[in-house]
Amino acid sequence: MSSIEVGGKSYETDEEGYLVNLAEWDMEVANYIAQTENISMTEQHWEVVNFLREYFEEYQIAPAVRVLTKAIGKKLGAEKGTSEYLYGLFPYGPGKQACKIAGLPKPTGCI
């Protein structure tokens, strides 16, 4: 097991940098993971990250990108429910990057 240190706190991660314990997640570690992914978090980024956390809370799975895109469109407005918008925020994949920042496991169906 690996771990990351932020502000004196230690967070356990898997070999790809995803948090092992969802409950340990906080905004500090989210910002830190975002930094390592070369993303500076804006309100739009948080909107997606928070959406993912709510989705996980409800269904216990991280949604596939296609599902995330559709669900975001429903919740946050059609203009945000597109891959262009989401890839604009998370260039290396909204599934992978946003889930990592949100402290979720890698999305189911993300091969």
Partner: protein
């Protein structure tokens, strides 16, 4: 989508006692990306997978049952439950955490026969 094949996942095992139910669900979620005509059939002890109110804290195992409610988001909307199996277990349609179509054993067999691919769990 005239080239879509009919896929049926046949679930016959109770959750938690063995890994089959969880494995099946994961395969369903992964293959949902391929835009096929997917049906999920719940036979025998498989009907227990959809029971409402699962609380797994006491056995320190992940409760994966909420994910069945996400199937709709994955465009997996054909869920069939075998009537005889449901009744033999003292269950009714109200006991399930998602909307299902209840089929008699004979109807289930006929539906199975219509499939291009059947995956067994």
């Amino acid at each position: 989508m005239s080239d879509a094949k009919k896929f049926m996942f046949v679930n016959r095992k109770a959750p938690y006692g063995t890994i089959y139910a969880l494995e099946s669900l994961e395969v369903v979620l992964i293959t949902a990306a391929f835009d096929q005509d997917v049906s999920l059939a719940f036979l025998d002890d498989g009907v227990y997978q959809l029971k409402k109110g699962q609380q797994t804290k006491g056995i320190e195992t992940k409760n994966f049952s909420p994910a069945y409610r996400a199937l709709e988001d994955y465009d997996v909307e054909k869920l069939y439950v075998e009537k005889e199996a449901m009744e033999a277990r003292g269950l009714t349609e109200e006991d399930f955490l998602v909307d299902v179509t209840v089929l008699s054993r004979a109807e289930m067999g006929a539906l199975m026969d219509e499939q291009d691919v059947v995956l067994s769990f």
